[in-house]
């Protein structure tokens, strides 16, 4: 069953990766048609230490394959690592937490055999990912099948390493949450090591310690060096060997690390289930906030150097495709150079805000999922057995979710503003905060849509909300390829955002989106107050 689920899940992720890589390649080809423009871009990025530190080295940037690898690889490797660690901790420690592991062991299986079987099933899910990504790379970049395969294999091996790490920490941690936190910390450290190594402060040897660094050395799309797959394969096998050594020798349900299952009563935020929701959301919210703040600070602080000598037509084309509004009018010939450079810089900030808007919409889907989980896991019966009305409960949860996305939008804007100011670029604080708040409109729609489904068809609410956001992201990616009708792009809520500060803030579509969210949300709350409570 786990094998079937992972193969299906792998196929979905594989298609997603394929589309992402293909869209990057096709976008590059459509934006940089001439040799001169490609060379200019390569010079810009090739000499930019900050960009290299964040996204990796950029060899062969003047080729479709080189640019696509530079643009897409880091995102894919990070997602691949997250996929690997979440999959293995879910099916190993998660099953033990849920008590289903004991049922498996009650049959013919042993702890060791069952563990190896699960790891094998999760690793099998990588095969369709590599397969589809190879196809997407060939289609989008015109690379040879072998080069495309090496590229896909970097993602596949990153997944395998973190499947192995996830499996190991599942033996160490005594809860799924603890195991996931440890594995996530390892991923973050691996990324930071590589970032420091590429930052040009004489610590490039740190690359050797990081799985991200090993994949940089493979350099699959320009001059492949598959020998650097060896440490990745070695780490994977080493992790699995450690799992095998531990799995058969520990008690089912117990981890090698002690968990803190005892503490004195903390009275904050337990006055009722609504405030409890805030308390339980804190870690999730802080994680998103940290991600948004770090990302926005980085974008804000590198924008000035990264945008130097970028041609205005390249970035404005991306923005025109991402947002629905048309770009600003061309500057007069006399001020063309200065104005163009300013526009590039502003458009860089605008892209940063749009990217934050996407993160925040994904976070919104997560907040909606936690609302549904209260019901599907049976806790809502307990929460609603007292004096709290259903309408009051759901409305307060919805307002909390809206407050959290508004806070994320605010933090994104303020961090971007702070990053820009630190590099001497003076952006207006008020307009930036306004832009940040307007940009959470897609997240608000996701919440409204999710609430409506929660009210009418609760069992699909979570999946459908994530799917809606995924479809919007997919439309944005496909829009980069071109050839789609405008109606298609209009279906994406991200497409309705004005690219501030590159373009003036347009509150009308934002108000319309908030209005749609409100109507959908109210309908959902009203329906929830009348329907039966249902489990999974």
């Amino acid at each position: 069953m786990i094998l079937k689920r992972n193969l299906r899940n792998g196929a979905i992720w594989g298609v997603g990766f394929a589309i992402y890589v293909a869209s990057n390649g096709l976008t590059y080809k459509s934006l940089y048609k001439t040799k001169a423009s490609r060379t200019a871009l390569a010079v810009t990025f090739g000499n930019n230490r900050t960009m290299n530190a964040l996204f990796g080295p950029s060899p062969g940037m003047d080729t479709v394959a080189g640019f696509t690898y530079f643009k897409a690889s880091m995102t894919i490797l990070v997602i691949a690592g997250i996929w690997g660690l979440l999959s293995s901790t879910k099916y190993l420690r998660g099953e033990e937490d849920a008590g289903r592991w004991d049922l498996m062991l009650a049959g013919h299986s042993t702890p060791l055999r069952q563990t190896v079987k699960v790891i094998g099933s999760v690793l099998a899910g990588i095969i369709p990912i590599v397969l589809f990504m190879t196809i997407g790379t060939v289609v989008g970049t015109d690379a040879s099948l072998l080069l495309a395969f090496w590229f896909a294999l970097t993602a596949g091996l990153m997944m395998a390493m973190f499947v192995s790490i996830g499996a190991l920490v599942s033996q160490l941690g005594s809860t799924r949450r603890q195991a996931t936190l440890i594995a996530s910390a390892i991923l973050v450290v691996a990324y930071l090591l590589r970032t420091v190594a590429e930052s040009g402060i004489g610590l490039s040897w740190l690359d050797w310690l990081s799985p991200f660094g090993w994949m940089d050395y493979v350099n699959p799309m320009v001059s492949p060096n598959p020998v650097w797959f060896t440490p990745a394969i070695g780490l994977t096998l080493l992790g699995i060997a450690a799992v095998i050594a531990i799995a058969g020798n520990r008690d089912a349900g117990a981890g090698l690390l002690r968990s803190h299952d005892r503490h004195n009563q903390r009275r904050v935020f337990i006055s009722d289930p609504r405030t409890l929701a805030l308390r339980l959301s804190v870690i999730s919210f802080l994680s998103w906030a940290l991600g948004v703040v770090v990302y926005s600070l980085i974008v804000g602080s590198i924008a000035k150097s990264a945008s130097k000598s970028l041609p205005i037509d390249s970035i404005s084309k991306i923005l025109d495709k991402t947002s629905g509004s048309s770009s600003v009018t061309a500057p007069s010939p006399g001020n063309a150079a200065a104005s163009s450079s300013h526009e590039v810089l502003m458009s860089f900030y605008a892209l940063g805000l749009v990217a934050s808007s996407i993160f925040i919409a994904v976070a919104a889907a997560g907040f909606l999922t936690s609302i549904r989980q209260e019901e599907s896991e049976g806790r809502l019966h307990q929460a609603l057995s007292g004096r709290i009305s259903r309408t009051g409960w759901l409305a307060s949860r919805a307002l909390s979710a809206l407050a959290m996305i508004a806070m994320l939008g605010f933090l994104a804007a303020v961090s971007l503003w702070a990053g820009a100011n630190a590099t001497g670029v003076r952006l207006g604080f008020g307009p930036m905060v306004s832009a940040g708040l307007v940009d959470v409109a897609p997240a608000a729609i996701a919440i409204g849509f999710g609430l409506m489904l929660f009210g009418f068809v609760p069992r699909i609410a979570s999946t459908a909300t994530y799917s809606l956001v995924a479809v919007w992201i997919l439309i944005e990616a496909l829009e980069g390829i071109g050839g789609w009708g405008h109606w298609m792009a209009d279906l994406s809520a991200f497409h309705q955002l004005a690219a501030a500060p590159y373009q003036p803030i347009n509150v009308v579509p934002a108000i319309a989106m908030f209005g749609i969210a409100l109507v959908a949300g109210v309908a959902g709350v009203a329906s929830f107050s009348k329907r039966d409570l249902v489990g999974d």
Binding site: R262, R266, I270, D272, R379, Q382, S385, R387
Partner: protein, 304 residues
């Protein structure tokens, strides 16, 4: 006439063609301990979810202290406490935090009594819910319901996972609640528990109510178990009205004595008149236990 804590009229719940509860009429008086019996899937939990307003009836109505269980559920909840069969709680909270939260969810609770219950049920409140066993999680929801001192306790198989010592603690707590005049609606399939605690019971089968009454009324529906020892000739008993499950065997201790076991439904007089001409050396009769009653009633209902 006692006022009603719970009243259901024609209460029906249909899940897309599957009838979970069919035309239930039920009344529970204030201060009563009411046992709600039935095998798995009989509709006990569906009835409780309807009483709590978690689900809407397809037909019929349910009221709690005169308040519509669906429409006025918030007001109704202020007069009732709920203990679910499965304790689904927040894993990261401790037992103490969960009790504080659930006390506030209800609106009021007796903190001193909560301490008494925590001691009585031997709960370690400092541990997180995720570290509790199933039985300990059940203790948390049980304590959370009892500590409210609500006028009506709705208990859905509340002792699942509790050991026999805790079962005693539960019975002690229910006795205290009864002394305080609280009404208790106890859904269970532990018949000894219902027999020990309840003054009245209802039996449910496949969503239908098949019996409802006091324990003595329910017992009168069943047969009395009779053991007879006769020395010498044994009279013809097969045709005695109301007699069933007749078994005869020679006494292992005395070859002249025959032991007879049978069940008698209705008056004993026909049996006694047949035995009057015999040398009866021993005659014992006993009422059936609730468990035996349960099986008899279910078997006869199944035949119908």
């Amino acid at each position: 006439m006692a006022s009603k804590a719970i009243e259901a009229r024609g209460l029906t719940k249909d899940y897309k063609g599957v009838v979970a509860l069919d035309d239930l009429d039920l009344a529970v008086d204030e201060g009563e301990i009411f046992g709600f019996l039935g095998p798995n899937g009989a509709g006990k939990t569906t009835t409780i979810r309807l009483l709590m307003g978690f689900i809407a009836p397809t037909k019929g109505t349910a009221t709690v202290f005169g308040l519509d269980a669906r429409r006025d559920y918030v007001k109704a909840h202020s007069k009732m406490a709920y203990v679910p069969a499965e304790a689904s709680l927040w894993p990261s909270l401790t037992g103490a935090e969960t009790l504080a939260l659930l006390g506030k969810v209800h609106g009021s609770f007796d903190p001193e009594y909560m301490k008494v219950l925590v001691d009585r049920f031997d709960l370690d409140p400092e541990r997180r819910i995720r570290a509790y066993s199933k039985g300990n999680r059940q203790k948390v929801v049980l304590i959370s319901g009892l500590m409210t001192r609500a006028p009506l306790l709705v208990l859905d198989e509340p002792t699942g996972g509790l050991d026999p010592l805790m079962e005693q603690a539960f019975r002690e707590s229910i006795a205290e609640a009864k002394e305080r005049g609280q009404t208790i609606f106890l859904s269970s399939h532990i018949l000894s528990e219902v027999e020990a605690l309840c003054s009245r019971v209802a039996l449910l089968r496949e969503g239908r109510l098949i019996e409802d009454g006091s324990l003595s009324e329910i017992r009168s529906l069943g047969s009395i178990f009779v053991d007879i020892a006769i020395e010498g000739a044994v009279p013809e008993l097969a045709g005695v009205p109301g007699l069933s499950a007749l078994q005869t065997e020679p006494s292992p201790s005395s070859p002249d004595v025959t032991n007879i076991h049978c069940k008698v439904k209705g008056p004993m007089e026909p049996l006694l008149s047949v035995l009057s001409g015999s040398n009866v050396v021993r005659l014992l009769s006993r009422e059936p236990s609730l468990e035996e009653m349960f099986i008899t009633i279910y078997e006869s209902d199944q035949k119908r």
